[in-house]
């Protein structure tokens, strides 16, 4: 066989076998991988809006997604907002939940971050940071309390404690949340949050 013909044949054969094998693997795994992804978001929604039984994607744009979360009776419990922004070192991806009137924040969870371990990475820490967000009044923009105070009672209604030694990371999270809230209200006013027509997970 001519050399160049042989080269083409061999490479084609190798490529074909490889492609075939990969499509089989894809068939076997694709569904599971998608399920994993959805489960992650679902878990997060359940976490930020307690009592969620089902959720529904209401609105999506770049790096900003709003889900409606409902209880067993189909009653709307509030919104879960998936958002991201630049942190101290890399992108911070988070999710937080609000009541249907967008007046109080339910809870906040950090999905992805690469902040300095031991310092900025404390944004994922319940004790040091996340617990201060529960039930804050979001009719006004939230603010950070610097330097941090000892107990949650000392904080004002719209104040969140800073992480000691990680002012910047705390600040970045605060920025993402405030911006997202503003956007959330805006699209709600524009009537884009009408539920019922989205896809039910």
């Amino acid at each position: 066989m001519n050399l160049s013909v042989r080269m083409v044949v061999v490479l084609t054969a190798v490529g074909l076998i490889s492609g075939g094998l990969l499509s089989v693997v894809n068939l076997l795994t694709a569904e599971r991988i998608e399920l994993n992804r959805l489960k992650e978001i679902e878990d997060a929604i359940t976490q930020v809006v307690p009592g969620t039984v089902s959720s529904q994607k209401l609105y999506e744009e770049d790096k900003f997604t709003v889900y409606a979360s409902k209880d067993a009776s189909g009653q709307e419990l509030g919104y879960a907002v998936y958002a991201s922004g630049t942190g101290f070192q890399d992108i911070i991806v988070l999710m937080f939940g609000t009541d249907p009137a967008i007046e109080t924040i339910n809870s906040l969870t950090i999905l992805e971050q690469k902040e300095t371990p031991g310092l900025g990475a404390k944004i994922t820490d319940q004790q040091a940071f996340l617990r201060y967000w529960k039930g804050k009044d979001i009719r006004q923009p939230l603010t950070l309390r610097k330097p941090a105070v000892g107990s949650p009672e000392e904080l004002g209604a719209t104040e969140v404690n800073t992480i000691t030694g990680a002012t910047i990371s705390s600040d970045k999270v605060m920025g993402v949340v405030n911006l997202s809230l503003e956007r959330l209200r805006q699209i709600k006013q524009e009537g884009k949050l009408a539920s019922g027509d989205g896809h039910v997970n």
């Binding site: 990969l22 693997v25 894809n26 031991g118």
Partner: protein, 205 residues
């Protein structure tokens, strides 16, 4: 063609030709994913999977492949197995898959794997290639294990997520950062050289 005994073929990967400590190959995953033992083991197993299967496949089809396209063929074979490993991990071990991030796909360009195909599998029998790949894999896993154990124990006070240091221990956060990877690897390479030098001296005398 290698003429070593099969046991020697396997054992060389552990120390004499250890891919990490002696050949300084595959440094990217070694430095990037050894911040926790579980990540190190996962990466080691994934790479071993790819290395062993690629070696066997390459050794069995070596006669069919024209020299001019051999690298391209090897890469396709390697990339296939890497993708298999990647998808499998994403489907069944999502947290580890997330932690390892892009480093699983990057196994494609790991010099250990392509290096073994080019240096060994393309000129040795299937069985011998399998043994060689097994040895190299063991050496690679061991290296990752050592590195990630040191880093996890010092950097987090845990081993495989279990607390091993007392409550007095303050984690050395630098150890789970990239800087800690370089420092640990540097010290381990220094020790490896020292051991090698001492053995050579002992053999010479």
């Amino acid at each position: 063609m290698s003429t070593k005994s099969l046991s020697a073929e396997y054992l060389k990967g552990l120390w004499d030709e250890n891919p990490v400590f002696r050949q300084l190959l595959g440094m990217c995953p070694v430095l990037a994913v050894t911040n926790a033992v579980i990540n190190g083991i996962a990466m080691g197993l994934a790479a071993s999977f790819v290395l062993i299967l690629s070696s066997v496949v390459v050794a069995s089809i070596k006669k069919l492949i024209p020299t001019q396209v051999r690298i391209a063929s090897y890469i396709v074979v390697i990339a296939t197995f890497v993708t298999v490993a990647d998808r499998f991990m994403a489907a069944y071990f999502p947290p580890i898959s997330k932690a390892l991030g892009p480093y699983i796909p990057l196994i494609v360009v790991n010099c250990i794997i392509l290096g073994r195909q080019e240096a060994f599998s393309s000129r040795n029998s299937v069985g011998r290639s399998f043994i060689d790949a097994l040895g190299m894999s063991t050496g690679f896993v061991l290296a990752l294990l050592v590195l990630s154990s040191i880093r996890e124990i010092l950097g987090a006070g845990t081993f495989l997520g279990m607390q091993v240091m007392g409550s007095w221990f303050k984690p050395w956060i630098i150890m789970i950062l990239p800087a800690g990877a370089f420092i640990t690897l540097g010290i381990l390479l220094g020790i490896a050289l020292l051991v090698e030098q001492k053995t050579r001296e002992r053999r010479a005398s």
